[in-house]
């Protein structure tokens, strides 16, 4: 398991995701202060262009430099504000989700066990006197 590479890839994905969150934030602000620009930015920001946060910013810088710089400032602010809480949120989130998956899985196994017991009990009763088609 190449943890160094995974950490690098995860950080890249995270940076793109925070860029997307910054675009959403700026879009919401523009919708109140400058609707035509919000409309323009919304059209510019498709799912495809936002896939790679830094390619998106390069393209936006060429079109509307001040918007790109505003998004860059916002994404840095978001990163600085939330990143210290992320490790615990992620580790605890995974631990809890894993526990819940295991609990549900065990429950299903137990129910399956119960169901098998029921089937077995029924088999022991077979062939019943009023059975329409007794086995053998």
């Amino acid at each position: 398991m190449d943890l160094k590479r995974i950490a690098k890839d995860t950080s890249t994905v995270l940076i793109s995701y925070l860029t997307f969150q910054a675009v959403k934030t700026v879009l919401n602000q523009l919708r109140e202060t400058d609707p035509p620009r919000a409309y323009w930015l919304n059209a510019f920001s498709t799912k495809e262009t936002l896939q790679d946060g830094d390619a998106y910013l390069t393209a936006l810088l060429a079109e509307q430099g001040d918007l790109a710089i505003r998004i860059m400032t916002v994404r840095q602010h978001i990163a600085e504000e939330i990143s210290e809480f992320l490790p615990e949120m992620v580790v605890t989130g995974i631990q809890q989700a894993n526990m819940e998956h295991r609990r549900q899985h065990l429950e299903r196994m137990t129910q399956l066990g119960d169901a098998e017991d029921v089937v077995e009990a029924e088999l022991i009763q077979e062939p019943s006197a009023d059975s329409d088609a007794p086995l053998d």
Copy 2:
């Protein structure tokens, strides 16, 4: 800006992404130890099913419980190992990328400025004596 909601959404995205990385890790291990199972898991793990890590695990638990539990163990291990490094990687990554975007943007503006100076200088020279098609 709703930082609390952004942190929550980011953590959810991150958990799904680490689940995807855990699937990749287990797939690589299986390719060496049990190719037919690697083939099966690869077919099961499409981009669509992996979009939501926990829905994926629920589905996999119903089909191949031990594989799901192995992936759950691996994603928790990855999260515990890399999450402490992520905040700095992300904040530094964004700062550096932002700086690079600003540098390139300034460079383009300066070149544009130079280009405008050149055009202006040419306009001052116009109409030149040897011009083929003088303006006006």
